[in-house]
């Protein structure tokens, strides 16, 4: 990171300002958490925020939970460095919400209580399905959590201008302690308010940058694109698909390599599938539907979420191409080869452009704090989802057969949040040297391959049974995991300067046989197949429970009511 000092030295004033804004955000969120803790008395309060949030509030919170640092910094960075292809992520992440809206959100609100496992186990034998749902929730959430926390360490250190390893470790520990505090003390109520604050901050920051970029280019998108293409050094190709995904590959002799090209293009399609089908299987997103009083409010909240998330992803075009046009790829790569600092660098450059050096300092500090808020809110949501599942699915329903006292269950949820947080801190510190960015895509792939088939079969296929649910979850989960382990993500990518960009950096070690980075294209159909196979191999069929789930999911009869406060 010594290059950093040469390119964008972080001034003392900026360091102070960024720190002050960071601490202000932390102080506000701690206040919210403590206030929320006073209103958190029952299990429904802790797990589902008392089910008393309005559709709009939850819609904004959905945006907060969903728009991670990978969306904000990651997509802006990919567009800034690779051009058009970053846009593919934006579109996949957005269209995915229609799956959640049309097929999952309302039916889930009507038939579940606290976790994804509630719906999956509704008409099944409880213990096996609860265990599978718990395992899958924890795996997906931990993958996602690790990617976010490792990113946080590098990013905050970069934005504060401290590059020592100790500073990064301390950042990870601080982020971990904060998220544990938010979840154990504030529960879903506190976490939801934090998501709302974060979403508003993120939208403000992104809008401000977008307006400034568009103003600079005379509100002319074509001119922005043209300047970005010119500055990228790649010309028109920068504005077309193929900069990063689905490349046409030539071999060392310069001849087209048909097989490598095919794999590269299939990888793009595979990624597209995981993005669009993963969202409706992410546990931390699914539990959001329980925080509103009715299915109608759940519907409203997803529609609001779609507007907010869609507007945000539209703005990533201005952020990414703005960073390419104004900052330029060389400076971005000098600071972070993955491009994650493109948006903060854009903030500084355009702030200076409009208001001089002080303006640049203020804009950078503001956007850096927004990025920090983004990470903190998302990790809190993930910790909440996984600890809820440990307490409700594993402890109360698997271990205690549904007979655990409510107070005890919430206590276990709080302890789990603490343990999961501590584990995440330790794993993140050790994972720092690894390239863990792939974990977000993997979390989506597991959610799409294991959780989504089980959820859809549960809601729409009467014949579906315990064996089917368990087969779908474990089958999809393991398919995705095994394919990734034996993919170029883990070993066997062609070495650059003697080091492979795979997880195993030694180019001498290569045990990959699956050609794609993204397993979705194979693992998602496998998840659906295992779910079907398990079902037909078992004779179990509970007609009463199937009827009950169907009537409840569509009419809302007998659903969990909002708390009276």
């Amino acid at each position: 990171m010594n290059v950093m000092a040469a390119t964008t030295e972080v001034s003392g004033g900026q360091q102070v300002l960024t720190s002050v804004l960071f601490l202000t955000f932390v102080a506000i969120t701690l206040g919210i958490t403590i206030k929320a803790s006073r209103a958190t008395k029952t299990a429904a309060d802790f797990y589902a925020g008392g089910r008393s949030f309005s559709g709009i509030q939850n819609g904004v919170a959905i945006g907060g939970d969903y728009m991670s640092a990978a969306s904000f910094l990651g997509i802006a960075g990919i567009i800034a460095l690779f051009g058009y292809d970053g846009f593919l992520y934006s579109i996949g992440f957005l269209v995915a919400w229609l799956v959640a809206l049309l097929l999952v959100a309302e039916l889930m609100r009507n038939s579940g209580k606290y976790t994804m496992g509630d719906v999956l186990a509704f008409r099944m034998r409880q213990r096996p399905v609860r265990a599978a749902a718990g395992v899958s929730t924890i795996v997906v959430s931990i993958f996602y959590l690790l990617a976010q926390m490792v990113g946080a360490g590098a990013l905050v250190a970069l934005l504060l201008g401290v590059s020592s390893q100790t500073a990064k470790n301390l950042t990870i520990v601080a982020v971990g302690i904060l998220m544990i505090f938010y979840v154990t003390v504030g529960g879903m109520k506190g976490t939801t308010y934090i998501q709302i604050v974060k979403a508003l901050l993120l939208m403000t920051g992104a809008s401000l940058l977008t307006l400034m970029v568009m103003f600079k280019f005379g509100w002319n998108l074509s001119e922005l694109l043209g300047t970005a293409a010119e500055k990228s050094g790649k010309g028109k190709a920068f504005l077309e698909p193929g900069g990063r995904f689905g490349k046409d590959i030539v071999d060392a002799a310069g001849n087209p390599d048909a097989r490598a090209t095919l794999y590269s293009k299939l990888d793009l399609v595979s990624l597209g599938f995981a993005l669009v089908l993963g969202t409706a299987g992410l546990p931390h997103i699914l539990i959001r539907f329980y925080t509103v009083p009715t299915a109608r409010a759940a519907r409203k909240s997803v529609v609001w979420g779609i507007w907010i998330i869609g507007s945000f992803y539209l703005m990533t075009l201005a952020l990414g191409f703005g960073a390419a046009a104004i900052v330029g790829p060389e400076e971005i790569i000098a600071q972070d080869p993955a491009g994650n600092t493109a948006a903060p660098q854009l903030a500084r450059a355009i702030g200076e452009d409009f208001f001089g050096t002080t303006g640049g300092t203020i804009m950078l500090a503001f956007i850096a704090s927004v990025a920090f808020a983004t990470i903190l809110a998302v990790v809190a949501g993930l910790t909440l989802a996984s600890s809820s599942s440990v307490a409700h699915d594993i402890y109360a329903n698997y271990v205690h057969h549904g007979d655990a006292p409510e107070g005890q269950e919430v206590k276990v949820a709080r302890i789990s949040a603490f343990v999961i947080g501590a584990v995440a801190i330790v794993l993140s510190i050790f994972a720092q040297k690894l390239n863990v960015a792939f974990l977000v895509a993997l979390a989506f792939a597991v959610a799409a391959s294991g959780n989504l088939p089980a959820i859809l079969y549960s809601l729409f296929w009467r014949r579906f049974n315990t064996t089917g649910a368990v087969s779908a979850i474990y089958g999809g989960l393991l398919s995705a995991l095994i394919l990734v382990i034996f993919s170029p993500v883990v070993s066997g990518k062609a070495a650059v300067d003697g080091k492979s960009p795979s997880l195993v950096t030694d180019p001498g070690i290569d045990f990959h046989w699956f050609p794609l980075d993204n397993p979705g294209l194979v693992s998602i159909p496998l998840g659906f197949f295992f779910g079907w196979l398990g079902t037909v191999l078992s004779k179990e069929h509970n007609e009463y429970k199937a009827a009950e789930l169907e009537v409840r999911s569509l009419t809302g009869v007998g659903m969990e009511k909002a708390a009276d406060h």
Binding site: Y84, F87, L88, I91, G92, L94, V95, W97, L98, V99, L101, L102, L103, E106, K113, D118, F122, N220, L221, S222, E223, L225, G226, A229, K236, L239, E240, P241, G242, F245, G246, K265, L268, V269, G272, V276, R296, R299, K300, V302, V303, I306, W307, G310, Y313, L314, G402, E543, Y544, K545, A547, E548, E550, V551, R552, L554, T555, G556, V557, G558
Partner: protein, 112 residues
Amino acid sequence: MSTDRNQQESERLVAVQQSDEFAELRKRFRAFAFPMTIVFLGWYLLYVLASGYARDFMGTELLGNINVGYVFGLLQFASTFLIAWLYERHMDNKVDPLAARIRADLEGGDHR
């Protein structure tokens, strides 16, 4: 949760599930949600495939530097917003009243 429901109530729910009114409710929900899911997934897949296999088409410039790829991508945003709005309207007007009626019938019988 549901485990304390007695047999009688389960039978009532089965009766409701097999009623014409409930069949109509299910039909109204599925008649919108299922075909629309196929439409938007197909439309999205077309976009992904075009990004991978129809590069020349996607790179055709329409307005200055704005090529087919951006217009196609922006249309994905537009269609997502449109489908969300249509779905909300359909559910509010065609499904909610019927669901509320069935729920009222069921819950009215509980003497709550």
